[in-house]
């Protein structure tokens, strides 16, 4: 196991190093192919952690490395999805999916030549999240859950090595959410991508992750690291077992402690 994402003793403040830091002394290491989940109280710096790891923000102290290399500009290999689907309303669902391919090299220069292939790839991806034949619709013609699936597909279309998910299921109902857990679980298993998932839902974290990291209140840092050794492939039924519930309870008590 090699470390893929590493943050070492990182501190970051949005208003420069004189203002109150959002994260302080934050260290985390995520292995290649690992599924990591980050939980913590609201405003503790989880989204900030994501931005630091992808080079969208730079810390005033500490080091950020991806695949052994220091991050000094935005990554080119990351797929991201947020709580809001952030799709472009003037593009159809399919065209929204193609957007990353219009930007990331080498696909970008191949866009013209391989367009058919790319469209087929996008359609496959849509099918895999249960959106078969919906590509021609505009995002605003889709339900919230369908938009969120599209947003996930967009994060995956260019086959990123690193997938960053910031509460991507937060706005969904419980059933759709569980359905998408399985989608993400299968995609990660099939492609062995490294995933970093920020969530408020402890069941979600335990069900999906290999390791769960608990952050302290602002300024955030990692206070607990919990390995989840429930064997894979995991089925939704596993969430009703006592062993699973115990882990959820344990994490919950850690968070309660950080809030005090």
């Amino acid at each position: 196991m090699t470390a893929f994402v590493t943050l070492e003793d990182v501190s970051h403040a949005y208003g420069g190093d004189t203002s109150a830091p959002a994260v302080e002394g934050l260290s985390i290491s995520i292995n290649e192919g690992e599924f990591a989940a980050v939980v913590g109280p609201s405003g503790c710096g989880k989204s900030t952690l994501m931005k630091l790891a992808t080079g969208l923000q730079f810390p005033f102290k500490g080091k950020v490395r991806i695949a052994g290399e220091a991050v000094d500009k935005p990554l080119k290999i990351a797929g991201m999805a947020f709580q809001a689907p952030t799709l472009l309303p003037w593009r159809t669902t399919l065209e929204n999916l193609l957007l990353p391919l219009e930007i990331v090299q080498p696909h970008r220069s191949e866009m013209r030549r391989k367009r058919h292939e790319f469209v087929a790839r996008a359609e496959n991806l849509l099918t895999s999240v249960g959106l078969r034949d919906q590509g021609g619709k505009f995002p605003w013609e889709l339900s919230g859950g369908m938009q969120q699936r599209t947003s996930l597909c967009r994060a995956l279309i260019h086959e990123p090595k690193l997938l960053m998910l910031d509460e991507p299921f937060g706005a969904l109902d419980a059933f759709t959410r569980e359905e998408l857990w399985c989608v993400i679980r299968d995609l990660q298993a099939a492609r062995k991508i490294t995933v970093c998932l920020v969530t408020h839902d402890l069941r979600e974290a335990v069900f999906l992750a290999d390791r769960v990291f608990v952050m302290s209140a602002r300024p955030g840092r990692i206070v607990v690291e919990r390995k989840i050794d429930i064997p894979r492939p995991r089925d939704l039924d596993v969430t009703f077992t006592p062993a699973f519930q115990d882990i959820v309870h344990e994490l919950r008590s850690h968070i309660v402690k950080t809030r005090r």
């Binding site: 931005k51 992808t54 969208l56 990554l75 947020f82 952030t86 472009l88 990353p100 930007i103 960053m164």
Partner: protein, 257 residues
Amino acid sequence: MKNRSLAITLSPWLYTLALFAIWEASVWIFSIPVFFLPPPSTIAVAIYDYWPAIYRNSLITLWATLVGFGLAVGFGLLLGLVIGWSRSIYAGLYPLMIGFNAIPKVAVVPILVLWFGIGFVPAVLTAFLISFFPIVVNVATGLATIEPELEDVLKALGASKLDIMRKVGIPRTLPYFFGSLKVAITLAFVGTVISESVASNNGIGNLMLQAQAQFQVPLIFAGLIALAVEGIVMYWLMAVLEKRMTGWAQRSGFAQN
């Protein structure tokens, strides 16, 4: 449903007719003298009598307005993109533009006359000066309000600033841009007429000034009507254009019934 949409298509005409009817009636009832407020029927006669002059001058005004408006669109779009592109250019230029916009354009006309003489050129330039500001502001606003999350998604793919501008900035600015055209075209008419009534031998503005000097009150009002018609037609064209280009941005049912 069908009746309803028919009613909506007809209602502008009905309201206009009603306005003229009330106007006509008021003039008769209160026996307002023609040299104070002529009734629509008298104005219609004036339009008929002076049709060649009204037609010729309307075209001149329209042409000056369109040229000034065209300049404003090109220049406004360019400046808006530049201002939306860079925070420092924005900070530097914005106060200047606000100051400039606060200057009454009628005060600028003498300077334009000094530089370019009277006639077509100052009319075009006044139309341009008065109408480019809303375009700049709207384009710059559209660019400045890109959702940060969307920007992050693209940046994490390695998108350059130019990429973000092309894929997101410009498309999402289009509704703002086309919306501003409706405001700009009507302002452009105002600019042209201001300049024509101060410094020209042609155009509706000049026609109205001359009619005033000769105390031909119905002709003054005929000029006003000609301007109003031109303004409505151009506004309507811009609205159609807006709808055509940015249908995706107008999906709210809020203003549709």
